[in-house]
């Protein structure tokens, strides 16, 4: 069971550490342009080489990790913060029209892929990292709401919930005190998955110019800038892409590993 958890945790820890270290130290200065040193291949001086402006790619990736992590993390926070209470409410209000309203609203939000939300927000407010956060965050809401409702519904018929109702507890208190702790594991696992999807979505949005704007480094924009250089300096496009793949892979393995540890019943049916 740890064969996924361990590599997943290690990969994730490396990316998070790199992002944190970049606040105090990076191998090179991401803001300084050195045209004489442009497009250098990986070497002892620049481990991952330099980009078209002579900036150290490793440093750019370290600082870019901050953007990716921040956007994806806050987006998961939005998804959980809004989606979980909605899902709990829908389950508590099952068999009433309010459950229907919540779930139909949910379906409606689900019809807007995050890219479409980002396009709409950009049309109103112009591009920026905040758009990416809001777009991915909104997209996360129905995911958590559905998951929470489904899991909570199956708990509402259990004996310990009946006991709590007989003890006079109301639906909000039961949801907070008994349902939520029992579905927390499920939410943690889904949170990891949405986090990795958020990293991918942020990269995609930055790539098409709807995410973080210069001078804030982001992996997606590094790839957009590297696109025309791919034939003369492939490493400029390879390195940020590898950073994304390893981060997402790490988070997915971590999610699977956590699922194994936190909910052994799911091991047999995992996808």
């Amino acid at each position: 069971m740890t064969f996924r958890l361990l590599p997943g945790a290690v990969l994730t820890a490396i990316v998070v550490l790199a992002a944190l270290i970049s606040y105090v130290w990076t191998p090179g200065d991401v803001a300084s342009v050195d045209i004489a040193a442009k497009l250098q291949s990986p070497s002892a001086a620049h481990w991952l080489g330099t980009d078209q402006l002579g900036r150290d790619i490793l440093s750019m990736i370290m600082v870019g990790a901050r953007t990716s992590i921040a956007v994806a993390l806050v987006a998961v926070g939005i998804g959980m913060g809004v989606g979980v209470p909605l899902g709990l409410a829908a389950a508590a209000l099952r068999d009433t029209w309010l459950d229907d309203v919540i779930m139909r609203g949910n379906d409606l939000v689900f019809a807007f892929p995050s890219l479409v939300i980002a396009i709409l927000i950009t049309a109103i407010a112009g591009p920026g990292a905040l758009n990416a956060i809001i777009a991915i965050g909104i997209f996360n809401i129905p995911v958590f709401a559905r998951l929470t409702r489904g899991a909570a519904l199956s708990l509402w018929s259990r004996d310990f919930i009946l006991a709590a109702r007989m003890a006079g507890k109301g639906a909000p208190r039961i949801s907070a005190e008994h349902i939520l702790p029992n579905i927390a594991n499920l939410l943690i696992v889904q949170g990891t998955i949405q986090f990795s999807l958020g990293i991918l979505a942020e990269a995609g949005l930055s790539y098409v110019g709807l995410g973080a704007q210069p001078p804030v480094p982001s992996w997606g924009r590094m790839l957009a800038e590297a696109q025309t250089l791919v034939s003369i300096a492939p490493h400029v496009a390879l390195m940020p892409g590898l950073a994304i793949v390893l981060t997402v892979l790490g988070l997915n393995l971590l999610g699977d590993g956590l699922r194994d540890v936190l909910d052994p019943r799911l091991r047999a049916v995992r996808t």
Binding site: L108, A111, V116, I124, L223, V230, A237
Partner: protein, 314 residues
């Protein structure tokens, strides 16, 4: 079945109405007057006012919404602020690139995923299963636009088998399909990885069923039993994912089009955003959302068709 379909149809119409209202209101609050933007900074106020009136921007919001939404129902998406051309025509031209691309990718993804999922399920727990699952784990983690760049580097720049971008038009069907091949592969790979995992998981659940045991007892190999009896029963979760994937593919096509410089909906919408051509933004977004809602509707109908129990439950 008919009652079920009608009920879902009403729900589809309601969703579309609410979605169109949301999109219209969101774009309405956008800062910046399209008329002022089109005429530039030196424009006189009365000229701007005249253009606003010509574009219908001086009408009350409700009237504009009704005319936009009503127009969409009849295929009239309005007139582009920038190009002064019918939006419906602009969208239709681009759709001939984006839609075939999404469908091509969907076909590729299904073609890749089915054998992979079946093979992994039949070889469950053995080296072949571990290898396929490892590959799908990687496939899910690769951003499709980066994979697209790698494909360009290998197949267009190094090997010269494909062009690095551009689209010759459907007048040359073979060249057009060739131009869409690398983009479709790039789009299909991550989706195929997801689909293969879902299929494997659904098939493994079925492996324990009595009818599979009976089939095995009759002398079928595990693979034969899955192929003849298991696959049809695993279709429900797979259908869900295929339905969801189509909308992801259509949205993903917008990004992939940027890598291959394809003149699809993606190019249209990004140009429209930068030129504040809001009516084009509104219409393309509505079209994408319509596609998602329609595919969800069709998936629901397909469920009910595959599994009659769902008709009663819904």
């Amino acid at each position: 079945m008919l009652t079920y379909a009608l009920r879902r149809l009403v729900s589809l119409a309601l969703s579309l109405a609410v979605a169109s209202l949301v999109i219209f209101l969101v774009v309405e609050v956008a800062p910046g007057d399209p008329a002022a933007y089109m005429l530039g900074t030196g424009a006189q106020p009365d000229t701007i006012e005249a253009l606003r009136s010509e574009l219908g921007l001086d009408q009350p919001r409700l009237e504009r919404y009704l005319s936009w939404a009503g127009g969409m129902l009849t295929g009239d998406f309005g007139t582009s602020y920038t190009y002064r051309a019918p939006v419906a025509q602009m969208v239709a031209d681009r759709l001939w690139v984006s839609l075939p691309l999404a469908l091509y990718a969907l076909a590729l993804s299904t073609l890749l995923a089915f054998p992979a999922g079946l093979y992994a399920a039949a070889r469950r727990g053995r080296a072949g299963d571990v290898a396929v699952m490892g590959a799908t784990q990687l496939g899910i983690a690769i951003p499709n636009f980066w994979f697209a760049m790698l494909l360009v580097l290998l197949f267009a720049i190094n090997l010269g088998w494909f062009g690095a971008g551009g689209f010759p038009g459907w007048e040359q069907p073979l060249a057009a399909i060739k131009a869409l091949t690398l983009p479709a592969v790039a789009l299909a790979l991550p989706q195929a990885a997801i689909l293969a995992r879902v299929l494997r998981s659904a098939l493994i659940d079925i492996l324990g069923e009595d009818f599979i045991r009976t089939a095995r007892a009759k002398g079928l190999t595990r693979f034969e039993a899955l192929w003849r009896h298991g696959l049809r029963n695993a279709l429900i979760p797979v259908l869900t994912i295929v339905g969801l994937q189509f909308s992801f593919l259509l949205a993903g096509a917008i990004i992939i089009e940027q890598v291959f410089f394809l003149p699809g909906l993606g190019r249209l919408i990004f140009q429209a955003i930068s030129q504040r051509d809001l009516i084009v933004v509104e219409s393309v977004v509505m079209l994408l959302v319509f596609a998602v809602i329609l595919v969800t509707f069709l998936t629901d109908l397909a469920y009910a068709w595959v599994d009659p129990r769902l008709r009663r439950r819904a």
